[in-house]
């Protein structure tokens, strides 16, 4: 994407300052829109439960199948539940789950990738073969298999997200290590007699920050996608959970009577994922991480 950066994922560490990055994100219309969407959804997730006009599973028998109105902004479903309130509660669930899952996967993947890549040798080689094999199993299939093992607990989805995305992050982190390992500043640190931990976390990690930030944003978008898809398939979450995918699947049976109960959660997830993707693309440009 940028012509001056030739080595994979290496940029000067000073670019990575959260506030600067955020300001620059608002410099382009597409990434400004994406970032705003993400921020609005985060706010919704944060204060949603307080501003939701109805309870998440509150059923009003006299007000079933109502079209959107001032009383029910997104209408009500076949059970008389307020769709707007459920979408709000769903936002908190999906952002918390996807956010925490991505964070843990990035943390674990970074640690594994940095260590393994820096030390190299047989262990690194073997680990990468195992990761390659895991990546040969489609993410959704792996998630389905794992969910079968872990069972239908609430934390099951979290475990699955961490397990599925850690190898991917580890590979990315490792590629950064390999590209800077032989650089002068790493060798200088080694000559100074710095410890391995210092070199990995204080010298190498900062150069991996931009790449890892972009990768984290991408993983976040995929995690949202995965949680919604699993919800749609009815695996990993049970009704009456306000998972947007599950809401869409449930509303599909009543699509002719209550189309809004289907389209509102569908719209919510679409807008959120588009927002995250546009933000990730913006981050890639701001942080000058090469790639498509």
């Amino acid at each position: 994407m940028t012509k001056e950066s030739t080595t994979a994922g290496v940029t000067p560490a000073r670019v990575w300052r959260p506030f600067t990055v955020l300001t620059r994100l608002f410099g382009r219309p597409a990434s400004a829109a994406g970032t705003s969407i993400v921020l609005i959804f985060l706010l919704m997730a944060l204060i949603g439960p307080w501003i939701a006009p109805y309870g998440v599973n509150e059923q009003i028998p006299s007000e079933t199948r109502q079209a959107p109105s001032p009383d029910h902004w997104f209408g009500t479903d076949h059970l008389g539940r307020d769709v707007f309130s459920r979408v709000l509660f769903g936002a908190r669930d999906i952002l918390l789950l996807a956010g925490l899952g991505t964070f843990l996967a990035v943390l674990a993947g970074t640690a594994i990738g940095l260590l393994s890549g820096y030390r190299g040798g047989t262990f690194d080689e073997a680990l990468m073969r195992v990761f390659d094999s895991l990546l040969a199993i489609p993410a959704l299939l792996l998630a389905l298999l794992l969910l079968g093992v872990v069972g239908p607990a609430r934390n099951a989805l979290l475990i699955v997200i961490v397990f599925v995305y850690t190898p991917i992050v580890a590979r990315v982190a490792r590629s950064v290590v390999l590209s800077v390992k032989s650089k002068g500043f790493v060798q200088a640190a080694r000559m100074r007699g710095e410890s391995e931990t210092w070199i990995i976390f204080r010298e190498i990690l900062p150069s991996a920050f931009p790449t890892l930030t972009v990768e984290g944003a991408l993983r976040f978008s995929y995690a949202i996608f995965l949680i919604a898809a699993l919800g749609f398939l009815g695996i990993g979450v049970q009704p009456p959970n306000p998972n947007w995918g599950l809401m869409v699947a449930e509303a599909r049976e009543h699509v002719f009577q209550t189309p809004w109960a289907l389209w509102m959660p569908a719209l919510a997830i679409s807008v959120l994922v588009i927002g995250v993707n546009l933000m990730a693309d913006g981050l890639r440009r701001v942080l000058r991480v090469p790639g498509a």
Binding site: M1, A136, L140, L145, G148, V149, L233, S270, D281, A292
Partner: protein
């Protein structure tokens, strides 16, 4: 070249071996007692034990794994717990369906994706580029169940062009199935379009600034001819990998799309197997998924090496 092919094949075998053991391990720790699944709730302990012995479930896990792998390689994929029939014909028939869907999807996504990518790349940093880029990013992010339901709403319910339900009968040939394949294929290609066009765009941008392109222009070739005859060959290299990886995804990753349209492909069979705890079926489908992915990658690597001698000699 032969040495390169051999080495890639070696890697492929190693990956398959590792993946098969991962799949076997995961299916082994799936909760549920196989003997009880087969015999039902009322079975006595003695009957359960003799069946376990018969199925070799009391043997150490590595022995079980090797026996399973040996049988799988020889084409004996076992009997399904839920349908009580041979797994292989069932899986093969679904594989056929998945291949049909994959063919139509690639037929839509590859030409359109490459065209969009080339247009965006040639107009780098103009409004054309932005429009293509933003729409690609948006479409890639949409979950298949949203785009699928939207396409059904428009093309099946409103316009009535295609059926909303794609549950084709076993043995339907490609031409008969085609009308039912269009909507699922369109849904799947929306996901691929974004990847293919973005990859192509990056490839084109990377090539277009190289000196040989200027030389070709200066010697009087038209812009179109330079793009088509010189730039594309080099620029499409990364796109080829994306297409190959997509093929693996199309064979086994279309679980959501197949579910939206009730299309009887491998993805829905997998969901069925997981739902019923049907281990032989699940293992067979998962292995097939991995095989498709691995061979698609191998094909991409070999094609790459064929185009670029530098890779072969490494």
């Amino acid at each position: 070249m032969p040495r390169y092919v051999l080495r890639r094949l070696g890697f492929l075998l190693l990956t398959l071996l590792l993946t098969s053991s991962i799949i076997f391990a995961i299916t082994q720790v799936l909760p549920g007692d196989v003997a009880r699944v087969i015999l039902g709730r009322e079975a006595g302990e003695a009957a359960l034990n003799s069946l376990r012995e018969e199925l070799g479930l009391n043997d150490p896990l590595p022995v079980q794994y090797l026996r399973w792998l040996g049988n799988f390689v020889q084409g004996d994929w076992g009997e399904s717990f839920s349908t009580r029939t041979e797994v292989r014909p069932l899986v093969q028939q679904r594989l056929g369906n998945s291949l049909m869907l994959a063919a139509v999807t690639l037929g839509i996504a590859v030409p359109v994706g490459i065209a969009l990518g080339v247009i965006a790349g040639l107009n780098e940093n103009t409004w054309v580029d932005s429009v293509v880029n933003v729409s690609a990013l948006s479409v890639v992010g949409l979950p298949e169940f949203v785009t699928g339901i939207l396409l059904i709403e428009i093309f099946a319910f409103r316009l009535g062009f295609f059926p909303a339900n794609s549950s084709i009968r076993p043995g339907t040939n490609f031409v008969e199935a085609l009308p039912m394949l269009i909507l699922p294929a369109l849904t799947a290609s929306l996901v691929l379009l974004g990847y293919i066009s973005r990859m192509t765009r990056v490839g084109v941008i990377g090539e277009i600034s190289k000196p040989y392109v200027r030389t070709a222009r200066l010697k009087g070739l038209s812009r179109w001819s330079v793009t088509y005859r010189h730039v594309l060959r080099n620029a499409l290299m990364p796109t080829i990998t994306v297409i190959a990886i997509s093929f693996g995804w199309l064979i086994s990753g279309l679980i959501v799309v197949e579910n939206v349209y009730n299309y009887p492909g491998l993805g829905r069979l997998m969901l069925f197997a997981i739902d019923r705890r049907d281990l032989p079926l699940l293992q067979a489908v998962a292995m097939l998924a991995v095989l498709a992915f691995a061979f698609a990658n191998l094909a991409a690597d070999l094609f790459y090496a064929y185009l670029n001698p530098k890779i072969r000699l490494q």
